[in-house]
Each structure stands twice: as C-alpha cells, then as structure tokens.
Symmetry: C2
Subunit: 324 residues, 2 copies
C-alpha cells in the first residue's frame, strides 16, 4: 500500500508540487485561494508528508540523539526524559543509544549517527575521542571536556561539594574522607576533589582521598581501598550516586551506624541500587540541564554561535538520613 505523495496532492488540485510544498512549510506568501485548495486536498487524501524526502533534500534529519553508557539507571533515564521533552517541544525526535560502557560501541554509534541519522547528539562518555569522530555532528557534553568547540553542561561542582563537605563538618564530623572515581579525561567533575581539599585545608584537617580512575564495574575496589587504607573517619563525601549506594551497602555489612558513627553526603541526587535509605545528597537539576543540552545542540546545528561553552547549574541540597 503506497502512501499518498505530494505529487498526487498537486495533481488533485491542479497546482505544482512546489506549491504544495510551500503551503506545507509556510515558506512563501501563497494566495489564500490556492492555500485553501491545497489544504482541502491534503485533508481529503489524508496526505502525510514523507520525512525521508524532506531529509534527503534538506540534508537534515530533525533527529537529536543521546549516547549514554546505559539507559536503565535513574540518572540517565531522567536525563533522557528531559531531553525527549525538550526535543519534542522544538520539533525534533529523540534517538537513544547505549554504549554499555564500551568505547568501540561508542564509535559505532557515532559513525551511525553521522550517516545523517541525527543532526546532533548529547554524548555522555568516559573515554577519549578524536574531534574528527564527530565531524559535522553537533555534539554537546555533560561534565566532560570533549573538544575545544564542544559545549559542556554541568553543575557547580566546586561550590556544591564545598557545601556538602562543610555540612558534614558542621554536623560534627572530625575526619571526612573523599571517595570518587577520577575521570580519565578533563572533566568538570575534577573540581569536586579540589573543593574537598580546599575545605580540608581551610579547616586544617588532613585529607583522606580515594579517587582513582577505574573501569566500569570496579567500583567495589575503591570502597575496599577506603576501608583498608584508612580508619577513624566519621564522614564520607561520595562523588557519584552509584558509588554512594555501593558504599552504603558496604557500611551496612560492616554494621557501621549511619549517621551516628558515619555520615555520608553524595553527589548526583539519585540512589539507584539500594532502596532502603535516603542519602543526603546534592541533586543535579537534570531537567534543566537536559533542556539546556537540547538548546545548545540545536544552536550548533543551526550554526548560531551565541552560546556559552561552559554551562553550570546549581545543585539542590537534599537532607536525607545519612547525616545528623
């Protein structure tokens, strides 16, 4: 069953296909009479324009993609939800692709997107890529520095971490540790450790830092390291929600009382694994961030260059049950 084409609409009302196209896109002034005729025919034939033709002739897909490590994680699914809303509002569709934490998969996806599958993408990665891999794809990044022309959407990592660490000190912590997974590429996330160190210095406290670059799935090693190398700490600032929930699990197994013996504050705001406790956290405003990502991607697609390269959003402090 072939669908109705623009040619049939044109034929039906005795105009050229160009005219039908112009009516469809409001691209030129069209006489009221013609317009009406065309719209009638469209309705009567139940004509739906085929985007494939449009895409080919305009060299535009009106598709935005998002590349994430996994979809089934609260942080990412909230992000995706926000992107979809924002993209839809601007007439774009959202393609979703997951790399499963594998760089080769990321490359495959980028290559696919560049075949004109998408006009732009939000690329969330922990690996290193050449800017040439993006070519004319309009790429935007979360946290990571991906290239000198690639805008970044991030949070006030420094300020938020400072707030979290200071909060624990105010709540009586004497010895606060920092636990994180160090990004292997330049990233705004690095400011979290810096903020922690600055607060420690300011208070003349000895820092305890376990912050290594690890492969996905190796998070438990970090937590083991924290407990094996150090002792006597009564607070942990955790940079990241996955790590936070793993830490909490470990703490439970060790029968450490939270918050009495140990206080915890995490970054990110989500708690994906254990469902038993609300961790005190600095929540990222993912819906605002998603909206900004879409705005930036579309500006890049349209070659408008009136945007900031670094876009910081404020985190939202949420008191949970892991602090006094």
């Amino acid at each position: 069953m072939r669908s109705v084409t623009i040619k049939e609409v044109a034929l039906k009302c005795g105009v050229g296909i160009g005219t039908v196209s112009r009516v469809l896109n409001n691209s030129t002034q069209i006489s009221e009479k013609t317009k009406e005729k065309v719209l009638d025919a469209i309705k009567e034939l139940n004509y739906v324009p085929n985007v494939a033709g449009k895409r080919l002739s305009q060299n535009r897909s009106y598709v935005i993609a998002v590349i994430v490590p996994v979809i089934d994680h609260r942080y990412f699914s909230k992000l995706i939800a926000g992107l979809e809303l924002a993209a839809d509002k601007r007439g774009y569709s959202l393609l979703v692709a997951s790399s499963q934490h594998r760089i080769e998969k990321e490359r495959d996806i980028l290559k696919r997107l560049m075949q004109n599958e998408a006009d732009g993408a939000l690329f969330v990665t922990h690996y290193e890529h050449q800017e040439s891999e993006f070519e004319d794809l309009a790429i935007v990044s979360i946290d990571r520095h991906l290239g000198k022309d690639i805008p970044i959407v991030t949070t006030n990592n420094y300020e938020a971490t400072k707030q979290g660490v200071e909060y624990m000190l105010e709540r009586g912590c004497k010895k606060v540790a920092f636990l994180g997974t160090k990004p292997n590429q330049a990233s705004e996330v690095s400011l979290r450790e810096k903020a922690y160190l600055d607060v420690m210095k300011e208070h003349q406290l000895t820092p305890i830092v376990v912050n290594r670059n690890i492969d996905h799935g190796q998070e438990e090693g970090l937590i083991k390291e924290l407990f094996e190398k150090y002792q006597g700490f009564d607070g942990v600032f955790v940079s990241g929600c996955t790590l936070a929930s793993l830490l909490y699990k470990e703490v439970q197994e060790r029968k450490i009382k939270v918050p009495d013996e140990l206080q915890i504050v995490s970054y990110d705001g989500e708690f994906p694994i254990d469902k038993h406790t609300h961790i005190t956290t600095l929540e990222q405003p993912l819906d605002l961030m998603a909206e900004k990502c879409v705005e930036l991607i579309i500006k890049k697609i349209n070659q408008e260059n009136n945007f900031e390269l670094l876009n910081k959003f404020d985190c939202h402090f949420i008191k949970g049950e892991t602090t006094k």
Copy 2:
C-alpha cells in the same frame, strides 16, 4: 562541508555507483578485484553512506520507536533499555517518544512516525485508538488489545496473581483485598481481578475489590476508597507498581504495621516512589519481553506472519518485606 557521496567513490575507482552500492550491501556476487578496489576507495575517502538516500529509495527507515506515557519511571526505562539492546542487535535504531499520558500526544506521535520516521513501534497506551491510525506502521502492544492483527506481549497475569494471592493466604491472611486500576480497554491485565476472584471463591472468602478505571493522577482516590469503604482486611494484592507505592505510603501514614497487621503483594516488580521498603512482588521479565517486542515488530515489518498474537511471559516472585 559536504560529505563524500557514493558518486565520488564510484568516480575514484572507475565503476558505476550501482557497483559501489552492491559492494556496500553485499547484494550480488561481485568480483574480488572490483570489491577490493571499491573498499579501498571507501576507506581512502573515508566514505560513510548517507542513510537518508537509502531510506528514501527503500522506503524503510530501519528505525523502531517506542511510545510510552513517561520515560522516567523504572518500569518504562527498563523496557526502553531492553528495546534498545534488542533493536541494536538487529540493526535498528530506537526512537523514544513520551505521550505524557495524553491521547492527543499519542496521536501526534503516531502521525509523525507514519511519515516514515519509523518502520514499527511498541505502543504502550491506555487509550482507545483506531487501527487506521497505525496504517502500515508495524505496531506491537504490551498487555493491551489494540486490534485484531496487533501482537501482544504480556505476562501470565492470571497465574501470577493467583500465586500472589494464595501466598498471602498461606501466610495467614484471612481477608485479602484487590486494588487495581481497571484498564478502560480490553487488556490482559483484566485477568488479574479474575484470578483474585477465583481464589476467593475457591477459599469461600468474600472478595473486596477496588478496581476502577481512573485518569492518570487519580490513583490516590482509589486508595482512599479502599480504606473508607472497607475495613478489617489484612492483605492487599495491588495490581501495579505505582499504586503499590502509593498504598504503602498511605499505610505508613495510617501507622498500620506491615506485614504484621497488613500484608502487601504487588504486580510489576518495581517500586518507583518510596525508597524505603521492598514490596513483595511479581516481577515482569522486562528484558525478555522487550526482546520479544522487537522480534515481533521486525517480523511484522518484513511481513513474516509466523508469530503468535499473544505472547505470555512468566513473572518472577520476589519475597520482600511486606509479607510474613
């Protein structure tokens, strides 16, 4: 910066564009010599085929879509994750669209998809639609009967509910209620109430049913109704994870002790709102279901008709803390 086209590749190695296309698609026997020549040129020019051309000439997008009420809900994000994996494995991309629980939005999305944006879709809806809205889109449904040719992927609603209700009886419940949102269209979900009623009958117990068709967001009314109309029940079978978490919240506010005074078993397996308790649940195997959805969609796209219209999966009983 125009990208390299098939024409330039053909020119470079002195063959026709048809030959390049055939090499790309392995569509015919090609002499080793020509093949090599073409592949060399492709590599040298860093040629990436443009899917827009392919889509137009083949009248195929190699895109599968999923339409859900919302993305940011564990049930749906798990489903989407499964779909993406399965689609990718078969060479399809995944487009994600959310209806925000609005039928007009669903219609808009369907219309968009039919403009050749997607070849098929998993359509999760609570509303009524005409089959004509789908036209030649290959549609598959979860739970719902959407039309006589539309395959359904669902769970063993009857058996799982029976198992859940009987479990509560075994654990000492004397008076078990059924709480659900009745689908306003024909749906496999209706078998849950039926199973409950059958178990009650078998045990010669008086059924308590609060199962109404409500609008999204009105779930609290159902829970109020349960507590206002009935009393003395010591078990509730809840058909659906959102409802289950709302019920649990209410139960906490009423200071009812779970599981001592009240036991709860839910359908779906996910617990999206309150993070404090594991509800005993019948979990849907969403990854298997997603895989099946993709398989069915692709079969429909290819007009293979060797599939079942009703595809039932077994739920997985998970003992939580809301039963003895």
